[in-house]
Structures are given as C-alpha cells and as structure tokens.
Symmetry: C4
Subunit: 270 residues, 4 copies
C-alpha cells in the first residue's frame, strides 16, 4: 500500500511526511484514501474497456486528487484495458507530470486539466471515441435523453468544433491548454461534450459518476439512433431528466458491482 502510494505521488509524500510529524494517523488516512482511489481508478479503466467505451489504445480517464484540487491522476499513454497501478501518474493543471519517470503521457491531457480548472466540482473526466456517439457530433443531430438511464443529459449535449478554436488545419487533438480551455468553454456546465469527428467527454463528481455517464450516454446514443428513424421522438423533459439523474446517482454501485466483475474477468490481472 505505502509502496504504491510512494511511487505515485512523491509531492504528496512530502506533505504527508510533514503532516506525519504532527499527526501520523492523518498521514495514514491520506495514504489509504489515495490507495483506494487508485484501486478504483484502475478498475474503472478496465470497466471502460470492457463496456466498449474505450476499446483500443486511445481514450482515457482521470481523477482529481482528493488532497490537492490542483492536481489529478491519469494513466501514462496506455490502453485502458491494460492500465495497472504502476501506470498512474500525477499531473498539475498545466498538464505537467509530478513524477514522469520517463513515461509517455497522453497528448490530450489538457482536456482533463482545463476541465478541472473550469469546473471546481468536477472530480473525474472520461475521454472516449465510442462509435455510437460520433454520428451526433458530425451531423449536429442533438443528443438528448430518450432513456431514463441517461437522464443526466438533461438537454442536448453541446458539440465542440475544433475549427472554431484551432482553425481548419489542426490534427483534431486537444493538445494545448488553449484548445483544452476552448473545449471546457463549450462543455460549460453540461455533463458531457461531443467532439466533432473525434469522440466525447463526460465529467462527474466521482470516477463512478463520470464512468457511468459515459456508459449510459453510449446506450442512449444507440437507442436514439434507431428511434430517430422511426418517427417523432418523445424525450425526457427537464424535470424527469433531472429527477431520474439524482435517483441514478444514488444507485451507481449496483451497476458498478457487475461491471467490475465482468471487467476483471475479461482483462488481464493486475
């Protein structure tokens, strides 16, 4: 436990050593908090892979540090389905690693950094290329909630057009703080933002909320894709959506339990 913790977060270790002088139990508590968070973070990566949200080597999850809101954890550039404790890095909101150790980072870490800057209540971010969401981003068809499991959408998901912020000749990636800030601006107060020709991001106040939003956004997209071909669609109204979103938030653990069982059975041991 302590060993893993030490690897992940030396800066925090200093803080802890300092606080340990005053209060060892506090240090132990911090350590345990981080350990559990990293454990959940690794499991969440496997879930995202197993549920088809991040099927390949692209897409990523981050979680804000519970100790320092100016920092967040993220895997080194590696497929979510293979992430282990040792892949976890700590970054500041400028996207700089505190503990690089020669590990390659995701170039789009600025998505996460800038959202954390703009949204103090957000503690986790998912970035995904799940195919079911893409048609909405490239056609401008509003992604709105038709399944009560996606009530969190409330309204149509905003769409980030990188040409507006980066011009007509980017490589489509949010690879600078400026592009990240533009994306965060498009996200606004929403729980999700589509990226034209690229994918989408969900945010949450916890890993579980951000991850479950990504999973149910994908399901809602598949349902809506078919419903739109059948005729006029009745969406959840704002009250319904807001109410069921609150209810669902209180029940995330119920899906998490089976997602975790499935994910750990389908991805390599860690």
């Amino acid at each position: 436990m302590a060993r893993i913790w030490a690897r992940i977060c030396p800066a925090v270790l200093v803080l802890l050593c300092w606080s340990a002088g005053a209060a060892t139990p506090a240090a132990a508590q911090y350590s345990s908090t981080i350990s559990e968070l990293i454990e959940e973070f690794v499991v969440a990566n496997r879930i995202l892979a197993d549920q088809g949200v991040i099927a390949d080597g692209f897409g990523h999850l981050s979680v804000r540090s519970p100790i320092d809101p100016g920092r967040f954890f993220m895997s080194r550039a590696r497929a979510a389905g293979l992430v282990t404790h040792d892949d976890v890095m700590e970054l500041d909101l400028a996207g700089k690693p505190l503990d690089e150790r020669g590990r390659r980072m995701f170039s789009e870490r600025f998505i996460h950094a800038e959202i954390y800057k703009a949204r103090p209540e957000v503690n986790a971010v998912v970035h995904s290329h799940a195919p079911a969401l893409l048609p909405f981003g490239v056609t401008g068809t509003p992604l709105r909630p038709v399944s009560h499991m996606a009530g969190f959408l409330i309204r149509a998901a905003p769409v980030f057009e990188i040409r507006d912020a980066g011009g007509d000749a980017t490589d489509m990636l949010v690879r600078t703080p400026e592009l990240g800030a533009a994306l965060a601006k498009t996200l606004g107060q929403a729980p999700i933002v589509l990226m034209r020709g690229h994918g989408f991001n969900t945010v949450g106040n916890s890993i579980k909320q951000a991850v479950s939003r990504a999973i149910y956004a994908e399901i809602n997209a598949r349902i809506l894709t078919e419903a739109l071909k059948m005729g006029s669609v009745v969406y959840l109204n704002e009250a319904e959506a807001a109410n069921i979103a609150k209810t669902n938030d209180a029940s995330i653990d119920r899906s998490w339990e089976i997602w975790k069982v499935k994910a750990l059975a389908s991805t390599p041991k860690f």
Copy 2:
C-alpha cells in the same frame, strides 16, 4: 436446503411448522417446491443477464409464491447477473418485505406487486431496459409480432406513459403502489407493456414464460426495427400469433436448456 428455505421465508416456515405437526410429508413437499423455485429464479436472473435483457444493475425478475398468492419473491437491489440464493427476499402485495434483514430493495417492486394484484393468473414478471425495445416506446411505433417466436404479442404492445398517471415531473420510476396500479391498468390483459423512455415488462404464468417472452420480445424488436425501414411489413395475424404462442409455450425447456448452460458459464458461480 432447509437452511436456505428458512432464510427466505420465515412466515412460510411458521405455516410449515404448523402443518408439520399434522403432516410432515406435506411440509417437506412445500420446502422442496420453494427450494426448486428459488433455484430456478436464480438461474433465470443469470439468463436474463447473459441474454442481454438485464445487462447492468437495473431491471429485475419476480415470481409469485406458490404457497401464498399474496406474496412474491424478488432479489434485493442487485444486478441480475450476480443474484444468488441469499439475495432472494419475500414481499407482500403492498411491496413490504417479510424478511428484510437490512437488505436494500428495488424501488420499483410496485411494478410486480400491482401486476400480481391485477392479474391472478400471472406468476412471474420481468422488468427490463433492453435498448432494442426503447425506440418503440418513445416514438409510438407499434411493437407487433413479425417473428413467430414472438407470437405471444398477438397485437401491438401497450405503452405506459408515466405522465398520464404521475404528471410531468416524476423521476420516471414506478415507485408507488399508485403508479404500479396505473402501469398494471395499461398492461391490461397483455403479455407485455412498454414504458416510455424507460423499458418494458413481460408477464407469464411461470418464470420460464415471462423470461422467454422478454428474450423473444427483444429479438422481435430488432427484426421489426430493420423491417420497418424496408417497406410494408406483413405481421403475424391474430390466429397465427395465438397458435404459435401456444406451441412455443410447450417448448420453452428446449431454449431454457441452452440459455442455462450459457448463463452459468458466463456469470459467477453461486
């Protein structure tokens, strides 16, 4: 066996102890009946998970007690793919547990309770969020039988609009006896009822009938979704549908055998 039975149904145990005084063989028979039913119930939950009818932590199955028609069995609030004997609870038709033991219940148990009240011949109910059914509920496109395996549909499935019974600001859940009664009224004498923006329920005179109806409703929905895009659709007429439904009911065990084999191979041991 007796231990499991005792956990599940203390009220019935009293009855059995009473009857045991008069006739021990009868008590043993009751016990064996319940044990076998719970075994089938657990397997059925795993089948619903493996066949994609209940993929996550939501959706549920219930079965009416063969001893007291005013009671039914249901899992505690847990993913169908993980349900074990110890998760099974017994409830009365007011949705009150007889044996709570601190276990959290599904808030939508009133779907089951009210259907059992309204439909004396119904002995099992499935509640599902399977994506293939949702487009029909949100567009009003009639879900009618195009596959003979879904002959039980006979006519178009009724659609429950929760706004009619609960107003425009529910959380979409059937979480009261009143909403459950309204849903049961929409169901009427049908084998299935769609829930707008939510999912659907199937009913049956047995676990196997309710479960197989859910599985084949999902397949029929997928087939119809594509057929509707091709042109004018020839549905089963009422005689064809009723006749094949009767035939299929006599052959459920044939699919059950392979569904069970697959489900037990894909979900954790119990």
Copy 3:
C-alpha cells in the same frame, strides 16, 4: 465407434450384418462412413450455434443417409449448441423415426423430409431463425447477393408464405408432409428459401455446403440491409454469382477449420 453406430442406426446394422457375411471390409467401411458423418453432424450443430445461425433451442440441421437416400439423420428436439452423438436419430422420408427410444422429435422434420423427396441431389438441410434474414421475408424485399461469399444465391431467394398452403390460421410451423411439400415447391431448385415471419432454410450437397450457405446468407442479409439504405445497389450478376459459388464450394474447408475451433471452444464438450 461401433457402439455409437449401433445406437444410431439399427436398420443399417441389419444390412451390415447381412453384408458382413459376404464382405466384412464393406461393413467396416459403412460403419466408418456413418461414424464420421455423425461426428461432422455434431460439429456442424455446434458451428451453427456459435455462428449465430441457431442461437436457441429452435432451428435444426439434417443430413441424408449415405447408405439409404430414403433416410436422414437429425437431432432429437434439442438446442443445436448442445447436440451430442446420442441425440442423433434416423428418420425416413415420411418423418418417422427408425429408432425413437422415447426421444422427442422436432415437429418441423417435414421440412427436411419433403426437401429430400423433391431434391435428390440435396444431402443436407439447415433450418434457422437468424434475425438478419427475417426482414426480407416479411417485407418481400428481394434477398440477392451483394457479397461474393453469398454468390450461391444467384437470384433473389424465394419466400414461402404459409398462408398459401395452410390457410390463415396455422401456427406458422411446417408440421405436416403437405406443408413440407408446399415449402419444397417454393424452394424449387434454389439453394435457400425464406419463410415469412419465421426464418429460412438452406440446402446443400453436403453438411458443409448447407451450413456455410446459412452462415453467408446471414452475412449477406446484414450487408444488404445497410446497402439498401444508402441507395441503388449493384448486385452480383448471374455469371459472377455462379462462378464464385463454384470457387467457394472448393474452399469450404478453410472456413470450416476456424468455425470448428471456435465452436468447440464455446459450446460444452461432447
């Protein structure tokens, strides 16, 4: 080997015993032929299950006896994914079992019997409910070859409307010799016949040909379903279709090898 053979085909055993008096090697050859055929038949059932052609307890495969063209082998009424040697029964062209031993038969064995009567060159028949084919049968949209792997279709697949032969109030099943004969008439000289609201059958000069036709008919149906939504479709012309069909027939073993490996890994041992 001999034991299995004896179970399957007592009538043939008599013949063999007779011929054994004159020529033992011939008897051994017969026995070995049948044993290998049954082995292939069992594997083929598992392949049909694993490839999604027969996903549940319905749908069936048959193969004509190489010894007596007036007989064929078929499983007892059991899911294809679970069929073992002991499930195999021998039937005559009236659909009567030679070796019933209390085993329940498929009520639609007349599909097979009547096709064998009408088409002397056909040695195997698949009956399937695969969802991708159903939309074509219920809308009358012609199922024609768009993938060269389905060249065997040559022209549009004929569609069997059971109302023409059985009236408006059947249970949709081909459960009599008369309905079977009507189906065989609709099939004509084609390699496949769709059944409205029910499924389809493929025929072949061998198990491998009938099975591979079923698998590629399903893939062709999925491709065509999407192509039809995109615009005007270029189909294989008759020469292209006939030519590639001949080529593919010579290469069936190449797909069979991997289908078998996958099927045996995904279904129970036998």
Copy 4:
C-alpha cells in the same frame, strides 16, 4: 529460431550462408530480423481475426521481405485466426512460391504481388471481407473520414469494379497478375481500395500500419453508415485528416498492445 527461419526462406538462407562466410554477425542479424517479422506477422493475423476484420477462412495479410523487396511473406491458404509460423510462405512478385512444400496458396495472392510492384513504399497489405465496408462498394457511397482515427483515408476510398478489368463473367476474384495490376491501378496512391461486392484492401509501410488502417476503416464505415441516415455529414478536411494520420501513425503501438493481448487470449496458442 534458426529452424523456423530455415523453413520459411531457403533462398535467403543461401544468401546468408554466403554472407556468413564473410560476416557471421550480419547473417545473425538477418535471421533475427526475419524471425521478429514473422512473429509479428503471426500476431497480426490473430489480431485481424479477433478484431473482426477477417472472421473466417478468407481474407489475408502479407508483408514485404525486408531483405529482398521483390519478395513477400504470406500465409498458406488458411484462416487468419489459426495462422502459425509454419504456415508462412515466401513468394515472388509473380506470385510464385519459393518454398511451396505442397501447401495450398491463396488464389488472390496477386492482389499483394501487384500492389508491391506498383507501390515501392508499401510493405504490408491486408485483404478483408468485413461486412461494414461492403455497402459502400456496392452503392458507390463515398467512404470518407468521419472519425479522426481514420484520418489516413484523407479522401473518398477508390472502388475497384472488376467488370472494368475482367468483364462481366469473372468469379469476382483477383486471381491473375492482370487483375491484380488493374486493382493496383485503381488503388493508385490511396491507403485503401474497396472492391465492389467483395471487400477491401489496406496498405501500409508496415504490418502495424496496414492492420490498424483496416481496423479503423471498419470502425469509420460503421460510424458513417449511421451518420448518413441522420443528415448532412461534416467530414475531416484534408489538412485535418493528413495531420491526425501522422499523429496516429506515431501511436500505433498503444492499440497494438491491447489488440495483441486480446487476440492471443481468443485464438489458439501457436
């Protein structure tokens, strides 16, 4: 290592023996290069099978020899999901094997040979029948990049109509050098060419590039198929596509790592 190498490439062995006289280290280096390439080739075949690019016994991968640009390696005619080291053959650009040993070859090896002739910078070719691509080939709907992972497409994929080169009565297969040359001409400088009613080919400067292009072309086809039904589509422009293609090329290993783990878990050991 040496044994496998010797089996694969006797012509090269002669060269090595010759060079070995002068410089043993050079020979060892050649041997190691080829061994590693064949290892990657076998893994790549399994990946193509696991990712659904080559699901059955058809479709194939080739890689140009790093020693002699006039030669390439390819499996004998066998399902990609089962290819092992011993299946690998070396061919010249006339499609003639250097080491036949009675092994049956793919009749469409001329696709590979002629592309290697026409495109000196191409070192690997994938031939696939993946269903998602077929609708584009048979309707002429342009396959253009909507996902940044398919930026390599840049423009619409060219479509090869075999009737133009081979007339109206081919068996659809590119089974001669002439047809291969016509296909290579249609391919031109593109990274992919669709084949009407048949499938598609991707090319790359390495196995990893050709394989990842095939995988992401399939995903892009699925996304575009749905987007086209929703309305007007915003495609990547040429600058965006070219830029992200370059970025993705630098990150192939990240997806390769998980593709390999999944493929080796789902296909037989080798």
